[in-house]
């Protein structure tokens, strides 16, 4: 429970009392993360939506087995990720991640020129293309950690591996990405 927001603890407590709105609020708080995680795994928006929806239903039904002393988000993400993996196995594909057309991170204080923005956008696209070219385990662990901003514990739950595996897999994946990007 340490480090968990008081609000989440309260929602879990209310949900354990049978308050359906509290459980719904809990799920909604992590809806975007769950959907994007499902998208990373399935590579398909429709499949991701189905996976997230089915994952929420399973979480809803399994909430009695959720231990209140544990953080809610990793538990929910694990269920959604499992659902997404099942769907990926059946659909057998993943689509490439894409960078927004107008994107382009530019460092420095000065106002960026259109050329700077275009170059930065190209760099972003190249990086994401390199990420997408990695083997699935490497791609997923990097996407979870750096694109979705999941913690090691949350990534471990989502990928169904131990936190130590996340650490070593991340290090290897970064090396693979470096080789592919640079």
């Amino acid at each position: 429970m340490e480090g968990r927001p008081h609000e989440e603890r309260e929602l879990v407590r209310r949900a354990k009392h049978g308050d359906e709105r509290a459980l719904e609020e809990l799920v909604r708080a992590h809806q975007e993360a769950a959907f994007r995680l499902a998208y990373v795994i399935t590579g398909n928006a429709a499949e991701a939506e189905e996976a997230a929806q089915q994952g929420f239903i399973k979480a809803w039904r399994a909430f009695g087995r959720f231990r209140s002393s544990r953080p809610f988000r990793p538990w929910l993400l694990r269920i959604v990720a499992n659902e997404a993996r099942n769907r990926r196995r059946s659909s057998g594909r993943h689509a490439a991640l894409a960078v927004r057309a107008a994107a382009g991170r530019v460092s420095g204080d000065a106002a960026p020129s259109p050329e700077d923005i275009a170059l930065a956008a190209d760099e972003s696209r190249r990086l994401i293309a390199a990420l997408d070219s990695l083997p699935e385990p490497a791609r997923e662990v990097l996407a979870c950690r750096y694109l979705l901003g999941l913690s090691e514990a949350e990534t471990a739950a989502a990928l169904g591996v131990r936190p130590g595996t996340v650490k070593s897999r991340t290090a290897r994946a970064l090396e693979q990405l470096r080789g592919s990007y640079e």
Binding site: G18, E32, I57, G64, V99, S124, L142
Partner: protein, 225 residues
């Protein structure tokens, strides 16, 4: 953080994620197994306690587990802490008869009363406080198939006897108070309790000074003698 990691983090906001569906809904209208499981625990615990007391040799055991309907009761020499509170405290939020029926899968059945009581639901347990000579708490829940294991605790000085409500098996728990562990609410000390199971529903009647005869009479009015 390495330069590559920093680049990844800075690129994250630029990913063209598909729009998160605005309303990924929860199945509010579907049966909820977690609630049923919680119910089984809530009402099976006293039943398991009763079994624990009925098993020869159990009284001499300091720790012993008994399993029933998905619940586990650990027999202890000293009861765990539990609070005294009114029968009607923490029995849940008011629900309509239709909502109560949805939870149970069958209509809530009551003994003949001048005025129908309000129904309350707590973790799937449907309760009503019957306005009799003394308040009597009636709770009903699905047996649920015992799909969850939970632990409860029982002391040694509560009287337990097997009873029948019509053909339905039951247990009469009386004498020294026992610990009632409802899901997700503080444990409380329970008074005299009649438990019985009929057609997939567990029924529970509790009153501070409820007698066995009155409990059996009420039970017969609820599910038939």
């Amino acid at each position: 953080m390495s330069e590559l990691e920093r680049l990844l983090v800075e690129t994250a906001p630029e990913i063209d994620w598909p729009v998160t569906p605005p309303r990924l809904v929860l199945p509010a209208a579907e049966p909820q197994r977690w609630r049923r499981a919680a119910i089984v625990v809530a009402l099976a615990a006293p039943l398991a306690i009763a079994v624990a007391f009925a098993v020869p040799g159990a009284r001499s055991a300091i720790l012993r587990a008994f399993h029933l309907e998905g619940a586990t009761v650990v027999r202890v020499g000293v009861l765990p802490p539990a609070e005294e509170r009114p029968l009607a405290a923490l029995i849940g939020y008011p629900v309509s008869a239709a909502q109560a029926q949805q939870l149970l899968g069958v209509p809530v059945v009551l003994p003949p009363l001048e005025k129908r009581p309000r129904f309350y639901a707590e973790s799937g347990v449907v309760s009503a406080l019957l306005d009799l000579n003394e308040p009597v708490l009636l709770s009903e829940l699905q047996t649920g198939g015992g799909d969850e294991i939970l632990q409860k605790f029982a002391g040694e000085s509560t009287g337990i006897s097997h009873v029948r409500v019509g053909r339905a098996p039951g247990l009469w728990i009386s004498g020294a108070k026992h610990v009632y562990l409802a899901p997700s609410v503080p444990s409380r000390l329970a008074g005299n309790v009649l438990l019985w199971v009929n057609d997939g529903i567990v029924y529970r009647l509790e009153g501070r000074s409820l007698t066995e005869a009155d409990a059996l009479r009420l039970a017969g009015q609820i599910t038939g003698t």
